[in-house]
């Protein structure tokens, strides 16, 4: 495919941040240093503004983003990266980020990690209007005028799917980051990259929760509450549509009666919390959940059973095995498949490559390490405590993004 000239392409995308910037000025700019002071200053100011600006202060995903961007956390990220290393680290050059239209904030995480690494950034976001994205861009545009070095290191553009525009940006980049899903990855993969450029893809994933039923039952009330609250946050904050939100819940115990008792108490507490938090489910979502339950029933190989809940804010399905339809027809909004396992090893029957995060309650770090060492599962890139599933981290989907976004220079002359 012939690469079109930038001249006749510029009408096909819209520069939304910094306003009035151009691809040329970004591509020709001097790369920033790793964790450059200008970058840290900019991120910290932006975090402060996003938390307080009335346009964004009430948006939970933006607050979570701003929280991640706060100075203390960025310093932490930097600390993790400043490990004594045998090689010298340098920016890769130019990163081209392709963000999905239905995860409002992922483009910011992606871009900032890359900025920390000193790269120049071209970010494609969808042209579909989105309140969260528009608000973030407005705040960003206010602040970026005071940071000319940053302004020349990044450009955010909007365009409808266009192979030519994506091909042009791809031809300019040293690393391409495709934030899902599978179909997009398939489409973009066909577009060639310069020989030295690399690509990171973030495919469709889904996540699971694992609880030790005995430990749950033996916990004090405050611990149980914290467990349920963490689960609520992981599952309901993004209406269970984030790839890190659990959809499958595995209950571990050798005693099936304990599993029953733990389930009854756990879900009772979840239902109460949903009422307390005022979590509301649209009738259409309730209908989607009901239909998904029916579809699991039809498509499962083992018989399943739909557990009665008082309100479809919470929908449950129990099954011996994990039906495939469970992924294909999952609609989010609080629909959980549950399965009983006797040991951690049984988790192997519930997972494959597509599993991203396993959030755990009552499972020790040692057990997890032994599980990975012994079984070397093809899935699970992340094991976290209940409540931490949505926390973005620089290690994601099995990549250490800071390593991936930098070049390693081997110097051996001493």
């Amino acid at each position: 495919m012939a690469v079109a000239t930038p001249m006749n392409l510029s009408a096909r995308y819209k520069v939304v941040c910094p306003l009035g910037s151009s691809i040329d000025s970004v591509v020709n700019s001097e790369p920033l240093g790793l964790f450059a002071d200008e970058t840290l200053q900019f991120v910290s100011e932006l975090s402060y503004a996003l938390m307080r600006d009335r346009r964004t202060a009430d948006m939970p995903e933006v607050t979570a983003l701003a929280f991640w961007m706060r100075k203390a956390n960025v310093v932490n990220i930097k600390k993790g990266f400043d490990k004594p290393s045998e090689c010298l680290r340098l920016p890769r050059g130019t990163a081209f980020h392709i963000a999905p239209s239905n995860v409002d904030t992922i483009f910011v995480y992606s871009m900032f990690l890359s900025l920390f690494c000193g790269n120049r950034n071209i970010v494609r976001i969808s042209s579909t209007p989105n309140a969260q994205v528009d608000a973030i861009l407005a705040v960003m545009n206010d602040i970026i005028t005071k940071h000319p070095r940053i302004a020349s290191s990044m450009i955010i553009v909007r365009y409808d799917h266009s192979e030519e525009v994506s091909a042009y940006f791809s031809s300019l980049c040293d690393v391409r980051m495709i934030w899902g899903g599978d179909e997009t990855i398939g489409l973009i993969r066909k577009i060639p990259l310069p020989p030295r450029a690399k690509e990171l893809t973030f495919a469709d994933r889904f996540s699971i929760a694992l609880l030790d039923a005995d430990k749950f039952l033996n916990s004090d009330s405050a611990t149980k509450h914290a467990c349920v609250e963490g689960f609520y946050r992981d599952s309901y904050w993004f209406d269970q549509m984030a790839c890190s939100s659990p959809r499958l819940v595995c209950w571990r115990s050798v005693d099936v009666q304990n599993v029953r008792r733990a389930q009854a108490e756990f879900w009772g507490r979840v239902e109460n919390l949903l009422v307390e938090e005022g979590y509301s489910t649209a009738p259409a979502v309730a209908m989607d959940k009901l239909i998904a339950q029916c579809r699991f029933a039809v498509e499962a190989t083992d018989p399943i059973s739909v557990a009665k809940t008082s309100n479809l804010r919470l929908a449950r399905v129990e099954s011996k095995s994990v039906p495939l339809a469970f992924r294909e027809s999952h609609c989010g909004g609080g629909l959980f498949l549950e399965t009983h396992i006797e040991s951690l090893t049984d988790v192997l029957h519930c997972i494959d490559q597509k599993v991203q995060t396993m959030s755990c309650f009552g499972i020790s770090e040692n057990e997890i390490k032994m599980f990975f060492a012994k079984h070397k599962p093809s899935g699970i890139d992340r094991v976290v405590k209940f409540g931490d599933a949505l926390n973005f981290s620089e290690v994601w989907d099995g990549y250490n993004l800071l390593d991936e976004l930098t070049r390693c220079i081997d110097v051996q002359i001493s």
Partner: protein, 359 residues
């Protein structure tokens, strides 16, 4: 137990109270067992939800119902042996997936007879000269029998000397119409069509050309979604006004029905309410708790029909919202439950990490 064959000869709205509820319960219990035995998907769903189809049920709201969208996902049927089966599909203009309904000879007969019984209450016992407010071209493609074609053919049984009012370009055939009206000047006539087609190709066309028809003694029966009309800000009462103004027709009856439950349609009465006939029942449920709501409360509509034998469509949870106003005491004199439809469930917003590069 009262057999279906006995019901077909009675007035469709003469049974009320416990008597009617017993008829519905008896038939639905048989249908539930029948579909449980013959439709594997229905059986899996009943098992998963713990619905015991052999259990004696005392209230119509206790039958397990299937969400209507499942008919788009699966080919649901309870067909025995080599029955002659025809497949009916929803028109599928708004979504890519279409419902597929499998109707054998027996179910088809039940549908025809039930519909005829219901229509008698509105059109009288005689078949009237009939104008179909559509183009005959709709019937040309018999391979995929659409709901539109099926609906027209089904209703054609209740008229005679049929005139298809529109040509293949959906333009009014004025000459043929004049001839038809001259010929049947002495008798009441019957018109049938789909709401949006009537709006677009009859009312708006007449209004544009400044023509009016004078068919005051006619009865118009129409059906079909209001979605497209909502976007033109037209509701039922405005639709009626504009029809009356353009044609003189005053007896105008909408009906609520769906391809998943042909035959047992819900006709609008003179008071403007939809009525369940002896072949059907209506339940309004809370969309979140599934609880059957009392009269006067808004919720999701579930429709029950005692006709579907060849597919498990006897208890269907629709995606329409509505409200039941009462039972057996409508001022129109018909017994049974009467209700209004309040539009579709609003669509859910989609987010998440899945695919959306296109947009």
């Amino acid at each position: 137990m009262i057999e279906l064959s006995e019901l077909f000869d009675e007035d469709a709205y003469s049974l009320g109270g416990d008597e009617k509820s017993a008829v519905i319960c008896d038939h639905l219990a048989l249908l539930s067992e029948h579909h449980y035995a013959h439709c594997p998907e229905y059986r899996s769903i009943c098992d998963a939800f713990g619905a015991d189809t052999a259990k004696r049920i005392s209230h119509v709201s206790e039958f397990h119902c299937l969400p209507v969208r499942l008919f788009k996902h699966y080919e649901l049927k309870s067909i025995l042996g080599d029955s002659n089966v025809k497949t009916l599909t929803s028109s599928g203009t708004t979504s890519q997936q279409v419902s597929k309904i499998f109707i054998d000879k027996q179910t088809s007969q039940y549908q025809t007879k039930a519909l005829s019984c219901i229509m008698r209450s509105y059109l009288g016992p005689k078949r009237l000269p009939m104008i179909i407010l559509d183009s005959e071209a709709v019937l040309k493609n018999r391979q995929m029998f659409s709901a539109r074609g099926g609906g027209i053919l089904g209703m054609s049984n209740f008229g005679r000397k049929h005139l298809y009012l529109f040509d293949e370009n959906m333009r009014i055939k004025h000459e043929a119409l004049e001839e038809f009206l001259d010929k049947h000047a002495e008798t009441p006539i019957f018109l049938f069509g789909f709401t949006f087609m009537i709006w677009l190709h009859l009312i708006k066309e007449l209004e544009k050309t400044g023509k009016t028809l004078n068919i005051k003694s006619a009865t118009l029966i129409h059906s079909g979604g209001w979605k497209k009309l909502e976007s033109e800000k037209v509701d039922n009462s405005m639709f009626r006004q504009r029809i009356s103004a353009a044609t003189g027709i005053e007896r105008i009856f909408n009906f609520y029905g769906m391809v998943e439950q042909m035959g047992s349609v819900y006709m609008e009465c003179e008071q403007g309410y939809f009525h369940a006939s002896v072949f059907s029942e209506i339940i309004v449920r809370d969309p979140l708790t599934g609880e059957a709501l009392e009269f006067g409360k808004n919720g999701v509509i579930e429709t029950l029909s005692i006709l579907p034998h060849s597919y498990p469509g006897h208890a269907i949870l629709t995606e329409d919202q509505g409200v039941i106003h009462g039972q057996d005491d409508c001022r129109c004199g018909r017994k049974g439950t009467y209700f209004s439809i309040l539009g579709r469930l609003p669509k859910a917003e989609i987010r998440g990490c899945s695919d959306t590069y296109e947009s």
